[in-house]
Symmetry: C2
Subunit: 295 residues, 2 copies
C-alpha cells in the first residue's frame, strides 16, 4: 500500500472508531435505526473527506481528537447523501462500498430514516463541547456544514443533477453542479480543519482554492471512472451516467480532454499550498491521488 | 375565531413570512428544490410548534424577530418530517394540510431532497448571527434541535413507530415512542423560547414538565381524531392507524379512557406554569387547545 493510501485508511479507521462509539446500539425498537446507520458509516469508505479534515487540522496543530470528531460529522453527511442517492426513486443503485445498498440490506423506509438521523447526528457532534472548547469555533463549524450540505450546497447540487438528466448542461453548468453536489462538502472538510486550527483568513482562502480545484478534479476523475472503471474495484455500478444520458465531463469534453483538465486542476490545487511548506505534503499527495485513483 | 386560534394563526403567519424570504427561489435548476420546500412550509400549517416557541420566548421578553427565526427553524424540521413520513415507503399518505402530499405534487425524489434540505436549513437559521447575538445561545439551540430531531428524538421515534406496526406496544412503550416521535420537537419548541429568553434552570425545568405533558396529551388527542375526526377538517386521511393495526392510545385504552388521560395531562401541564403568572396565559390556553382541537 502506498503511503497516501495508508493515510486514507488511517483517517477512515479513526472516524470508524469514533462513530462506532457514538452509534452504540440501544435496546428498544430504535436499535434497528442505529444498525442501519452503522451499516453504512462503518462500511469500507475511502476516507477521503475525513483525511482532508484531519490533514488540514494537522497543518495548524489542532488537537487530533477534535479533528476526528469533526471528520466523523462530515462522514455522517457524506454517508447520508450516499444512502438517499442510492434509493430507487433517486439513482436506484443496488451496490455501495462493495455490498448491497442500505435500502436493499434493510428497506427503503429505514434507509430514509437512517439518512435523516445521520444529518442530525452530524450537527449534534459539532455542537458538543467535546469537539472544541471554544463556542465560536463549534458554531463556525455548524454554520459551515449547514451551508455546505443544504440547498445552496450538496442537496441543491443533487437537485440540479436530477434535472440535468433530462436537460443537457454545458461545461459551466456542470462545473456549478459539481461545485455544489460534491465540491461543497469537500471544501468544508478542508475548511473545517482550518477552522479547528484557528487559521487566518488568508490561509483559509488559499486552502479554499486548493479544495475547490481538487473537488472538481475528483469529480472529473469520477466521470472517467464511470466510463473506464471496474465495478469490482469501485464497489458500485459503472456506466450509469451514460445509460441515463447524463451530461458529464466525459460526455462534454471526451475522455482525453477530461483527463487533461483534471491534471491541470490538480497542479493548480498544489500551487495554493506553497505558504504551508512541508506540513501540507499530505494535501499535495491528495491532489495527485484524486487524478490517479482507480476507485 | 377564538383568541387562541388567532394566536396560532399569527404564529404560523410570522413563520411563513420569514420562510418566504429565506426560501426566495433562485434561478437555475435548483429552483425546483426551493419550490418544493416552499410547497410544504408555506402551506396552511397549524402553527402549534411556532406558537409554543413564540409564546415561551415572550414570557422572558426575548426579542420577537429572534423567536420568529427559531420558530421557523423548528417548522422546517416539522415539515421535513411530514414530507418524509408521507412517502409511499413510509406512511404512504397522499394528502397533507388539505392538498396533495409533496411527493404527489412533485415526485418522490424531489420530496426526499426537499426534506433533507429543510434539515440543513433549520441548522443554518439557528447558527446565523441574525438569530441571537450571543454565540452560546445559538449553540444551545443547535445542540437542542439536533438532539430533538435525531436518533434519540424524532427519527428514533419514527423508527419505533414503524416497527410497532408489526409488534404491539404496551402503554409504556407507546408513551416512550410518542415522547420521541412528537414530544421531543414540541419540548424543544418550548425550551427554545426559554433558551432565547435566558431562562433559569428551574424555569426551564418547569417548562419542560409542561411541554412533556401537552406533547403527550396532543398525541392522545391525535389518536382520538384518527378514529373520530373528519378528513376534510383534518386535511389528511383518517382511520389509518386502525387500518394498519397500529398500537395507539385509543386501541390500548379505548376512546373514553384516552380522552380522560389527555384531560388529566392537560391539567397537570397547567400546574407547571404557576410561577410564570399572567404571562403564561397563552401556554395555559395551549394546554386546553390540545385536548379540544378538531384538526
Amino acid at each position: 500500500m502506498s503511503g497516501f493510501h495508508k493515510l486514507l485508511q488511517d483517517a477512515a479507521g479513526q472516524v470508524n472508531t469514533a462513530l462506532d462509539t457514538l452509534l452504540a446500539v440501544p435496546d428498544g425498537h430504535e436499535g434497528r435505526l442505529y444498525e442501519a446507520m452503522r451499516y453504512t458509516v462503518l462500511a469500507d469508505g475511502k476516507g477521503f473527506r475525513p483525511f482532508l479534515c484531519l490533514a488540514t487540522a494537522k497543518i495548524f496543530d489542532a488537537p487530533e481528537p477534535a479533528a476526528i470528531r469533526v471528520a466523523s460529522a462530515i462522514e455522517c453527511i457524506h454517508c447520508y447523501s450516499l444512502i438517499h442517492d442510492d434509493l430507487p426513486c433517486m439513482d436506484d443503485d443496488d451496490m455501495r462500498r462493495g455490498k448491497p445498498a442500505l435500502h436493499k440490506a434493510f428497506d427503503e423506509a429505514t434507509a430514509i430514516l437512517a439518512g435523516d438521523a445521520l444529518i442530525s447526528l452530524a450537527f449534534e457532534i459539532l455542537a458538543d463541547e467535546a469537539t472544541h472548547k471554544t463556542v465560536t469555533t463549534r458554531l463556525d463549524l455548524v454554520a459551515g456544514l449547514a451551508r455546505a450540505s443544504g440547498m445552496q450546497g450538496m442537496v441543491g447540487g443533487q437537485m440540479i443533477d436530477m434535472m440535468a438528466a433530462r436537460d443537457t448542461l454545458d461545461a459551466g453548468g456542470l462545473t456549478r453542479l459539481q461545485k455544489m453536489k460534491t465540491g461543497a462538502l469537500i471544501s468544508f472538510a478542508v475548511d473545517a480543519g482550518a477552522i479547528l486550527g484557528g487559521a487566518e483568513a488568508s490561509e483559509r482562502n488559499a486552502l479554499s482554492g486548493f479544495a475547490h480545484d481538487i473537488g472538481l478534479a475528483y469529480q472529473i476523475a469520477d466521470d472517467v471512472l464511470d466510463i473506464e472503471g471496474d465495478a469490482d474495484i469501485l464497489g458500485k455500478s459503472v456506466g450509469k451516467d451514460d445509460a441515463q444520458d447524463k451530461s458529464t465531463f466525459v460526455s462534454l469534453l471526451g475522455v482525453e480532454r477530461a483527463r487533461e483538465q483534471a491534471l491541470q486542476l490538480s497542479h493548480q490545487a498544489v500551487s495554493y499550498l506553497d505558504a504551508f511548506g512541508e506540513r501540507a505534503e499530505p494535501l499535495r499527495e491528495a491532489a495527485a491521488f484524486v487524478i490517479q485513483r482507480r476507485s
